[in-house]
């Protein structure tokens, strides 16, 4: 597996939200606006790459029986760092993401990649994997957030896109809208995969 393929697998084939079905909680809760997707995505990239690096560097030293608690402490440390950084440098995003910043520590993507990949691969592969998964997660969040924001508020990244007269579907920015949008997106991706496998 080359460095580039480890990166690109997180962008489509092994997309964390749409293919691996991980990290749904933040994906559904935070994606009320497209800009939140970028904020959360940046945090997750930071924590994912950071924890992948540390776990990959120490993989020969961590005893097998205590590996999960060790992973969790490493991840929690990076989450605390990003929480404090965001609180100081970008307070509006910190407020918008709210409780989901500390909840990054139980984001199944990060623990999942640590367990499945970082503890078995060297540093550069681990970084590549973390970046790929993180960027994939980010674009997934931005797509989800864009759909919900455009239909729910009529704006995209804060700019008005739906003309004044047309109604907006407020349910889209409610939790229900998140569930339904993600369900339809998953179905759409399944359909794309079915068509691709039928063609080949």
């Amino acid at each position: 597996m080359s460095l580039a393929s480890e990166f690109t697998k997180g962008l489509w084939n092994r997309h964390p939200i749409f293919r691996l079905l991980l990290g749904m909680c933040p994906a559904l809760a935070v994606s009320t606006k497209a800009v939140n997707g970028i904020g959360m995505g940046a945090c997750v990239i930071f924590v994912l790459v950071g924890s992948n690096v540390v776990i990959s560097l120490f993989r020969k030293v961590i005893p097998n029986q205590v590996r999960i608690p060790v992973f969790i402490v490493v991840i929690a440390t990076f989450v605390t760092v990003v929480d404090l950084l965001l609180h100081g440098l970008a307070p509006e995003i910190h407020k918008a993401l709210g409780i989901f910043i500390p909840l990054i520590v139980v984001n199944c993507i990060i623990l999942g990649r640590a367990e499945a990949f970082a503890q078995k691969n060297d540093l550069l592969m681990a970084i590549s994997d973390g970046l790929g998964m993180g960027v994939g997660f980010t674009w997934g969040l931005v797509v989800l957030g864009s759909i919900r924001e455009i239909f729910g508020l009529g704006t995209w990244f804060g700019m008005k896109v739906i003309p004044e007269g047309l109604p907006t579907v407020i349910v889209m920015i409610l939790p229900a809208g998140g569930f339904i949008t993600l369900g339809f997106l998953l179905a759409a991706m399944n359909r794309i995969e079915h068509c691709r496998t039928e063609q080949s």
């Binding site: 929690a76 409610l174 939790p175």
Partner: protein, 192 residues
Amino acid sequence: MLTYIILIINSMLVANMVFHYILGICPYLGVSRKIDTSLGMGMAVIFVMTFSSLVAYLIQILVLDPLGLGYLQTISFILVIASLVQLVEMVLKKYSPPLYMALGIYLPLITTNCAVLGVAILNIRKGHNILEVIFYSVGASVGFALALVIFAGIRERLALGKVPKSFRGFPIALVTAGILSLAFLGFAGLAQ
């Protein structure tokens, strides 16, 4: 007394962990294929969530706040939860092996259930006192279990129905969860 009842109604129905806060989705989607596994998972979550919220609250009040270590909240809370789950696993293995076998992999998965960590943090953010922590956490976990069992009941029937090919499995489950979330909106304004 009434405040506590209102607190429970709030955390169980009005601001349900799954349908309002969107917490605990991974186990919610993963475990809810059958009603009996959902019941088992729900029971385990009620126990772990209540006790971990209590211990987390005590740690916040007795250790983190007095020593000014607020930034250690995330690390200490998740360690509390992981230890508690480990303890529950050991106790169940020794004193109730059938229940331990029935829960299987779901028990260690409660550690990564964002609802458990979420409720522990929410208790602190809402400034609850110790009694309110207990009532809120019981209500929240029962609400989670309720959401889980209702969903499992629907999914058992969905598995027998004619679902379009692209929607089979998780997509239709998510749409169902969305409709359930809309239904739970009916509780809004029930308790302040």
